[in-house]
């Protein structure tokens, strides 16, 4: 399955383990990724705060380069939430707003480029893995199931919201990654905070607000019994991992929940070595949690037989008949 790939600045460095683990598993899941050549920064959540329209031209250059390069595919995928959303939003808003389409193309013309909105399908990597590769194809590659490992699937914000092209099952309680992790043999804990905010850029400009949000997410995962949090975004990983240390200092707590990328867990289940997947580069070491992986699946817990509700279970209600 061939597609164009927009790596983004974070995956080059701060989220290098994300890129390395993706490269390690792409063949197994039949993904042929071609980098958009000479791509530029997507502007994150900052460029558009300063230059409202030029921000779309910034993203427009990437879309234009990608569409010029597109041969045998019209899919452009990104692993970072902010990169994905900026690409998808510029494409969607250029479709929706003819004036913006004209302005962005006039700006692109200054660089000899142009972009026809809608000509590319912008997709997040998790979407591609879950919906194009599919859970069965992933399962078929598993040689070392993650039996006994309890994982909290954390989606963050910008992949499932605002979801300009309606690609997700739910914008607040999605289950796509839950199913993926189960296909790897892991146990998925009930993590209702799965799409709450990690603090985004607040770790830098308003740390007190960010630390509160990080504590809530880390505490929620720990309370649900998770061995690790699983993420799909470089910013979420950085905030929950590196800033977990700062958050602990701030609140005088001692949480130690490792934060890994879903691609790293896929790699482990596919039998790749932790080093090859960039495991060990996290601030909160994942090794102790990964040591809990069992050779055999945990004994199935027999489902409790459902009891027919009795009249005294609920509040007094008028009854029919």
């Amino acid at each position: 399955m061939k597609m164009l790939f927009y790596p983004g600045c974070s995956m080059q460095r701060t989220a290098r383990p994300y890129l390395d683990s993706l490269l390690a598993i792409r063949e197994a899941i039949g993904l042929e990724l071609e980098d958009v050549s000479d791509w530029n920064c997507c502007g994150a959540t900052e460029y558009m705060s300063v230059h409202r329209i030029a921000a779309h031209a910034l993203v427009g250059r990437n879309l234009a380069l990608a569409s010029r390069q597109a041969e045998g595919t019209d899919t452009l995928t990104a692993g970072c939430s902010a990169c994905y959303l900026n690409l998808a939003k510029t494409d969607q808003q250029m479709r929706e707003d003819p004036r913006l389409r004209t302005t962005v193309n006039e700006a692109l013309a200054a660089g000899g480029l142009s972009y026809e909105p809608g000509s590319l399908k912008v997709r997040h990597l998790l979407d591609v893995v879950c919906n194009d590769v599919g859970y069965e194809a992933v399962k078929a590659q598993v040689v070392r199931p993650l039996y006994g490992l309890k994982l909290a699937p954390y989606y963050g914000c910008q992949v499932v919201r605002p979801d300009p092209d309606s690609r997700w099952d739910d914008r607040e309680q999605p289950v796509a990654m839950d199913r993926l992790l189960r296909a790897l043999g892991a146990e998925v804990v009930d993590y209702t905070l799965k799409t709450q905010c990690c603090g985004g850029h607040m770790t830098v400009i308003g740390p007190e607000i960010a630390y509160g949000l990080i504590r809530r997410l880390v505490h929620g995962a720990a309370a649900a019994g998770a061995d690790a949090i699983v993420t799909l975004c470089p910013m979420c990983q950085l905030n929950l991992d590196a800033y977990q240390v700062e958050m602990n200092k701030f609140f005088k707590t001692d949480y130690a929940v490792p934060v890994l990328y879903f691609t790293q867990l896929m790699g482990l289940a596919f039998g790749r070595s932790p080093a090859e997947l960039g495991i060990g580069k996290e601030f909160i070491a994942a090794a102790p949690a990964l040591a809990r992986i069992q050779d055999e699946p945990p004994p199935a817990v027999e489902a409790k037989k459902k009891r027919r509700p009795r009249a005294e279970d609920g509040l007094p209600m008028p009854r029919m008949g």
Partner: protein, 196 residues
């Protein structure tokens, strides 16, 4: 007074336009801001709502009333974390997060923000993108913190060193090949932004 550019599916801003029309025109796409019914779902969904001087609901009422300076001085847009909870929950489908971006840009143009640190962070980020075509974490964090939180630097040093040790941070920025092309595109876009 500099007015953010009218680029939207809506009509361009006529002379004597209200502040509401001005904000809507400056927001790409269809913001639907005029559809607000003051239900407050936005503020109740906001992770940084409790720290905001005005919740989005209140801010939108102020926009309708034309309280331009008070709106652009509010800390609310700067505390927006772009989580889009308000946007997907809004019963009127108002693009609330997008409006927050517009208000930030207008506040910068009108120089009405009070806390310099969030706009400076955005501007420092923009600066790296416009010089190299890529972001540069080490430079961004160092430049921003030296200026705004110099006392926090010793505390943050272990994290920076930890990032370097783990090969998760570059010492020098990477410049894209098409920097001249990108510069021409951005300059043209800004010129169009200013004149449209």
């Amino acid at each position: 007074m500099s007015v953010a550019p009218p680029v939207s599916a809506a009509d361009s801003v006529p002379a004597g336009a209200t502040f509401l029309q001005e904000v809507m025109a400056a927001t790409p796409g269809k913001s639907r801001l005029n559809m607000c019914i003051q239900c407050g779902t936005c503020g109740g969904s906001c992770p940084s709502g409790p720290e905001m001087e005005h919740t989005p609901r209140r801010l939108f009422a102020m926009i309708k009333e034309g309280l331009r300076d008070q709106v652009l001085r509010s800390n609310a847009p700067w505390l927006c974390v772009s989580c889009y909870f308000c946007t997907v929950r809004c019963p009127q489908q108002i693009h609330i997060t997008d409006v927050m971006y517009t208000l930030k840009g207008m506040a910068i143009n009108a120089k009405l923000y009070r806390d310099h640190s969030p706009p400076d962070f955005s501007k420092t980020f923009v600066d790296y993108v416009e010089h190299y075509g890529r972001s540069f974490e080490l430079g961004l964090a160092t430049r921003f913190n030296l200026r705004h939180h110099p006392l926090s630097l010793p505390n943050m040093a272990p994290m920076g060193l930890g990032m370097l040790k783990r090969g998760r941070m570059d010492l020098v920025p990477h410049r894209i090949d098409g920097m001249a092309q990108l510069t021409r595109i951005l300059e043209r876009a800004k010129a169009l932004e200013a004149t449209s």
